[in-house]
């Protein structure tokens, strides 16, 4: 089996992606959280606890990839954070933090690993439906639309050897969204044409498909997995 690298893999969407990919790839799971070791142990994967915004974090991931028994065939850039605030209350440090993790980390790891991914391999980046417009998410929108720009440019630069695509999730169940007040949550879900929150597995299925041969003629594309919210 070829290797797949998944960031932000300790829980949520990243963990669901790892669970989907484990049947066809050996896994290298990356996360800042110590919980990545437990997730990796459960899936028979290798764990790297690393910060993708730091050169030493990228170096640790590269070293783990180079030490694996097979080269990577897939990279999933899922690691991300939110730090929401209305534009007039948003601090510079908060803006930089979100852009640095969501966009800078995606770029840095892809740049470091692209040359190591086997011919015919695939990169899948996590964007967000929120890049089309949300209140209090200027930083997040900039970072996640930036991911799309990066995806398209890299798709052209790395074609025909590699495919680079993005998935843009909508409202997805997570520890954070489960903590939302019920009325807020109901209002958000009521705006989704499919009338439910997404599950991490919904996003994982899309990521797994984009990385598979079934999506072999797609590159530079953004797949919105948001229950129709991107236009409804």
């Amino acid at each position: 089996m070829s290797l797949a690298v998944v960031t932000g893999a300790a829980r949520g969407i990243g963990r669901a992606v790892a669970e989907r990919l484990v049947t066809r790839h050996s896994l290298l799971l990356v996360d800042m959280s110590q919980a990545v070791h437990e997730t990796a142990a459960q899936l028979g994967a290798v764990a790297v606890q690393a910060d993708i915004t730091q050169p030493e974090g990228i170096a640790a991931i590269v070293a783990a990839v180079d030490g694996a028994s097979e080269p990577p065939a897939m990279l999933v850039n899922n690691a991300g954070i939110t730090r929401d605030a209305l534009i007039h209350k948003m601090e510079e440090a908060v803006f930089r933090a979100v852009v640095r993790v969501n966009l800078g980390g995606t770029y840095a790891l892809t740049e470091a690993l692209a040359g190591r991914i086997v011919d015919g391999g695939s990169v899948v980046n996590l964007s967000s439906r929120a890049q089309l417009g949300n209140v209090g998410q200027f930083n997040y929108a900039v970072s996640k639309t930036g991911v799309i720009g990066c995806t398209r440019a890299l798709a052209l630069a790395l074609a025909p050897r590699l495919r680079v695509n993005a998935v843009a999730p909508g409202f997805v169940e997570s520890d954070m969204t489960r903590a939302m007040p019920a009325r807020v949550r109901e209002r958000v879900v009521s705006a989704v044409p499919l009338a439910r929150a997404g599950q991490p597995e919904d996003i994982a299925d899309a990521v797994a498909w984009l990385g598979s041969e079934a999506a072999g003629y797609l590159t530079g594309q953004v797949l919105y997995v948001c229950g129709g919210r991107s236009f409804g």
Binding site: L86, I87, H88, M90, E92, F95, R96, V99, R100, L103, G104, Y107, A108, Q131, L132, G133, N134, V135, G136, Q137, F138, N139, Y140, A141, V142, S143, K144, T145, G146, V147, I148, G149, C150, T151, R152, A153, L154, A155, L156, A157, G220, V222
Partner: protein
Amino acid sequence: MRTRIGDPVDRHALRRIGGPDGDIAGGLVFAPARDLGEWRQVEDELTEAFLLSREAMAVEAPVVYLLRSPAILGRSGPLDSAVAAGLVGGARALAFEGRRRGRYATVIGVDGDEPPDRVAEAVTFALTTRAAAGQVVMLGHEHLGAMLP
């Protein structure tokens, strides 16, 4: 009007409608630097756009991001495209968040072959009419046949 223009050609084109010391209450035009070579430049360009946009929004001034069409489309280096696409998302976010207060932000894409006067006219039109909030208005022909991000 306040302008922060990373490219000398664009700076020349817009000199008659504003400058780096202009009053931001009259509007903001932000054009990022090009040919970025490292991540730090990306973060600094986006952060400067954020700080100026926050200042403009505080006085409900209109914001225009003036971007290169190839960068918007992904036909440039990944760092230039990351900045350009990022600001497309930024304009959408500003327009969406401020929609009930009449706040305005949009993107004008230029392909590099546009006469300077036409660029200045398009910017002036956007700032004065506040048309196409949160949209990408492409001048020239680079975008034809391609999908916007």
